[in-house]
């Protein structure tokens, strides 16, 4: 029982952490542009193909991983510059449709240039191993996902609290025009938001593909969907909401997987999203409310 619980905790914290990173990447852009970037999943795909192509080099895997993350960051910056900047002052609907267009375009490019079939990138052998602590068996993939996601969350928190760009990113989510009236350049803030979203997608891609063990043109669909649901459950209005939503979704997913009866487990996602709907019925604004109360204004 105790060993079950320990394994559950590690798996849930790992998956929840990765979901939280994904949701953060989506919300950090949404907070500023009011754009839900559905092409976000394709950044996971870009990192995945990055791993495939760069992985053919003789370099150690850690360099492959870092360069793949960099690919996602660059893709995010290019996406912003080419697709979203020209429609920045258009209606939210225009931006949303643009994100679908970018998503479709990137998927089809991958189909054309690479392959419609799953491709297996080089992954570190240690990802399939597990460690034993007494009677507790813990997958290395889970443990590394847990550690990396927490480190990334802490680093991002520090960045958002202690640097001027970080402050500007948070301020822009409150009031973008007023942030510009502080002398903060609009292009810089938006590019920073996209870069962070690429960074998150890239980090998540390592573990996502570490788990699926292959890359396909549509690999981004599920991550973006989960990121979207996690951020809605947690509360779109804050980055804290994205993190809480990510962990809640992670704990629910692993919990259902562990404890649902075997015959019901095929319907795990149906049960999961049923719970999500229930949460939203009770708290339509998401779990996390703003720390300041509007009445005080």
């Amino acid at each position: 029982m105790i060993t079950d619980l320990a394994q559950y905790l590690v798996s849930a914290l790992s998956l929840g952490g990765l979901y939280a990173l994904m949701a953060l990447g989506l919300v950090i852009v949404y907070g500023i542009l009011r754009l839900i970037n559905f092409a976000y999943g394709e950044l996971v795909m870009v990192a995945g193909y990055g791993m495939l192509i760069i992985g053919r080099s003789p370099w150690p895997w850690i360099f492959v991983a870092i360069l793949s993350i960099l690919c996602a960051v660059i893709a995010a910056l290019v996406m912003e510059r080419v697709a979203f900047r020209p429609v920045r002052n258009s209606s939210p609907t225009t931006m949303l449709i643009t994100s679908f267009a970018v998503s479709t375009l990137l998927q089809n490019l991958a189909l054309l240039i690479i392959s419609p079939r799953p491709k297996v990138p080089r992954l570190p052998a240690v990802f399939t191993k597990n460690l034993r602590f007494g009677g507790v068996r813990i997958d290395v993939l889970d443990l590394s996902g847990l550690i990396v996601s927490i480190v990334a969350l802490l680093a991002l928190t520090l960045f958002l609290r202690k640097t001027v760009i970080g402050l500007a990113l948070r301020a822009a989510a409150d009031d973008f025009t007023m942030t510009r009236l502080m002398g903060v350049r609009a292009n810089m803030v938006i590019a920073a938001a996209f870069a962070i979203s690429g960074l998150m997608a890239g980090i998540v891609a390592l573990f996502w593909i570490g788990n699926t063990r292959s890359t396909t043109p549509t690999i981004g669909l599920e991550p973006v969907l989960i990121a979207f649901i996690a951020s809605v459950v947690g509360g779109m209005s804050s980055l804290k909401g994205a993190v809480v939503g990510g962990y809640v979704l992670g704990f629910l997913t692993i919990g259902l997987q562990t404890w649902l009866p075997r015959d019901v487990n095929a319907y795990r996602d149906a049960v999961l999203f049923g719970i999500v709907i229930l949460v939203l019925l009770v708290r339509p604004e998401g779990i996390v409310r703003p720390v300041w109360s509007r009445e005080a204004r």
Binding site: R161, V164, L167, A168, R170, A171, A173, D174, D175, T177, M178, T179, R180, L181, M182, G183, V184, R185, A186, S238, P290, V291, W292, S293, R294, A296, R297
Partner: protein
């Protein structure tokens, strides 16, 4: 030459024209009032200066440089800091973070720390609530924060849009006392206000806007001497009624 010179600007929002040929100047070290009723074009003039709204016609020149078509961030960097209507503090950031963001363009870290120290001494309430979310401050405290935040950029000129709006009478008095202090420090200020009586007490010159045009420009005394304007804008219906009855 004036520090800020606006010449004949026109601003339309779609079919509605909000500003129809406003001209005004502000000299270095001057406090200039911009008064008028709601919808007179005061805020639109202000938004045109800071680059949020682009006038269809006319020129805005600040220390020799045209501001028309410049982005808000560039205009702040030229030395014009706005205190916007409704305060517009960042509610989810702490008081400290609001102040630090006010100094976003400043590279000298030591100077930023000095300025934070200076303005939290000047506004003790900000020191008291330093680590708290700014959204939880009262309206008057938010106004103090908005002013302190603007001052963090070490501006040459401060634009203030209705700083007394929505505040209790006591706090309105505090805000005007603050503007007086800033004036005495030598700050150049363009003050948009509806509280005409208190504005006239602290400004060097005043512009009265009405339906998008300048109806009067001159010193507070000159404005007070004009009985018609006095009746219409300063005392409201009460005095108008009295003067209508045979004396």
């Amino acid at each position: 030459m004036s520090l800020l010179a606006i010449d004949d600007i026109h601003v339309n929002y779609g079919a509605i024209s909000a500003v129809r040929g406003v001209s005004l100047t502000v000299d270095q070290g001057e406090v200039v009032g911009l008064i008028g009723v709601n919808g007179a074009g005061k805020s639109t003039t202000m938004l045109s200066i800071v680059g949020v709204v682009k006038p269809q016609r006319g020129t805005i020149v600040y220390s020799g440089q045209s501001l028309i078509g410049q982005s808000p961030e560039t205009i702040l960097r030229l030395g014009i800091a706005p205190v916007m209507e409704g305060r517009r503090i960042f509610p989810s950031l702490t008081v400290e973070e609001n102040l630090r963001l006010g100094a976003a363009t400043k590279k000298d870290k030591q100077q930023v720390e000095q300025d934070i120290d200076r303005w939290t001494t000047f506004f003790p309430i900000l020191r008291e609530r330093f680590g708290k979310p700014a959204g939880n401050l009262s309206g008057g405290q938010q106004q103090m924060l908005a002013v302190a935040r603007a001052l963090m950029s070490r501006p040459t000129m401060l634009l203030m849009d209705e700083p007394s709006l929505g505040l209790s009478p006591k706090l309105v008095g505090d805000v005007f006392a603050l503007i007086r202090e800033l004036r005495d420090m030598g700050m150049t200020i363009l003050l948009v206000e509806q509280n005409v009586r208190m504005t006239l007490d602290i400004v060097n010159r005043v512009y009265l806007l009405n339906t998008g045009r300048v109806e009067f420009a001159g010193t507070p005394d000159e404005l007070r001497a004009r009985g018609d304007v006095e009746r219409a804008y300063l005392h409201g219906g009460g005095l108008a009624q009295k003067s209508a009855s045979p004396a």
